[in-house]
Amino acid sequence: MDERLSRRRLLGAGVMGAGGLLLSGCDKLNGTPGFRALLESAEKAHQGSQRLIAGAALAREFAPGDMSPVFRANGNRDAAGNAEWSGHLASGFPNWKLRVDGLVLRPLDLSLEALRALPRRTQITRHDCVEGWSAIGQWSGTQLGPVLKAAGLLPAARYIVFHCADRFGDAPYYESIDLIDAFHPQTILADTMNGRALPVDHGAPLRLRVERQLGYKQAKYVMRIEARSSLAGLYGGKGGYWEDRYDYAWYAGI
C-alpha cells in the first residue's frame, strides 16, 4: 500500500512537473524563430485549403430580420488625427476623392458620386472579428473589380493595398488583399451601412468589405487604393497594420 501511495505521489508530481514544463516550454518555443517559422509555414496550408474549399463561392447573405440589433464598431472610431480627413468630415465629404494608383494604366481620383456611378452591390453579411464575436449588417457600395478595371491593372499587379486615414499612435492603418479577393463580387467599397451613409465609427466615407475574411481586413476610412507587385517595402512589409505590429496572419479567411 505504501509503495502504491508513493508511486501515486511520484506520478502526481510527474504530471504537475510535465504541466509546468509544457507551459514554460511552450513560451520558450513561442519565442524561438525556427519554431515560429514552422508554425507560420502552416499558414500557407490554411490559405491553400480554404481557397480550395471556398473557390469562388459567396459568403452567406442574410435576410433583414437576421441583422444584429446593434452593430459594434471596433478599432479606431474616427480618423481625427488626420487633418485632411477631418476637413472632409466637417464639410460632409463633397470634395473627398478616392485615389487609385500604383501599378495601373490610368490613376484615378474618384468622388463618392463618381464611385456611385459604377456597378454596385448591397449585401447583408456576417462580420466575424478575429476575437470571436460576430455581427450581421447590411452594406452597399461599389464593387472593387470594376474600379480596378476602370484604372486598368498592369500585369505585374498582385496585391491591392488600402491606405486609410486612421492611425494607431503614429502607425497608419492599411490592409491588403490579393486579386482573388479583389475581383470577388462581394468585395465592395461600402459607402452605406444598414441603409444610411456609412457612420463615422464604421469608417466614413468609405470602407472595404471583403466578406470571406476576418474583421481586421475590413479597412475603414479608405483614402487610397494602390496596386502593387509585392508587399515588401511597404511599412513593415507584412501587408497590414495588425500583421506588421502584432503578427496577425495576412490571410484572414480562417
Binding site: 474549399i53 456576417r126 472579428c129 464575436w133 502584432y246 480562417i254
Partner: protein, 281 residues
Amino acid sequence: MDGPADHAGKDPAAETPVRRHRLSTRLWHWVNAATLAIMLMSGLMIFNAHPRLYWGQYGANFDAPWLEIGNAGETGVVRIGGFVLHTSGFFGTSRDAHGVMQAVAFPRWLTIPSTYSLADARLWHLAFAWVLALGLAAYLLWSLANGHLRRDLHITRAEWSPRHIWHDVVEHLRLRFPAGLAALRYGVLQKLAYCGVLFGLIPLAILTGLTLSPGTNAGLPWLVELFGGRQSARSIHFLAALGLVLFFVVHIAMVLLAGPVNQVRAMVTGWFRLPKERADG
C-alpha cells in the same frame, strides 16, 4: 502488432508481462495527448480575447451571452445563464507573472502563450489543428485496417444490454477492476468513453472549429448551419473542449486507480502486467 484479442486463448501467469497496446495506439495516444493540451491552452487564450459565448448566428458586446467570464474590480465573475459564481484568482481575475491581479478570463498558467497574444495563440491553435485532424484520420484508418476498431472498440449487442452496462457501473463504483486476462479487454464503459472521444468529441471540436473560418463558411455553408450559426458553433466548440477536459479528468483518475505505473508503461512500451485475480473471485 499484438492486440488484446490475441491473448484470449493463452494462460499467462499473473504478473507476466504481455503485449497490450499496438504501436499505432501508443503513438497516436501520446501525439494526440500533447496536441490536445496545446489546442486547449491556445484555445483558452483565444477565448480570452472575447470571453463571452452566445447562441445563434451573431453575438457581440451588445448581445446577451449565455456564458461570460468577467470581473467586478478584483472579483472574478463567471455568469452562466442566471447563475453568478465568484471565481477570483482563477477565472476572471488572476495574478500575472509579477503577482499583480489582472482582469483576464483564464489565468496565465492555463494559456499558450502565458501573456496575452491572440495572434500567437492562433498561430499555435491553427497549426496544431492539422496535427489533430490528420492524426485522428490516420489513426482511425490504421485502426480500421488492423482490426483495433472491430476487435477492441466495437460494442457488441450483449454489451449494450442495460444489465451489462449497470454491472460495469457498479464494478467501477466499487473500484473493482478486471483482473487476469479480463484486464486485457476494454469494459463497456471504457469503450463508450473512448468511442465518445474518437467519434464524438474530437470530430465535433474539429468540425465546429472549421465553421469559425469565414473562408470555410463560404465554401461549406451547410456546416455552420448544422450547428445553428457561427456563434452557436463557437459555443459548441467550447463545450466539446470542456467535454474533452472532463474525459481527461476521469481518464487520469481511472489510470491512477487501476495502477498507474502498469497502465502508463503499457501505453509507452506496449507491455502490461496482468493484475492478479482477486482472492474473493
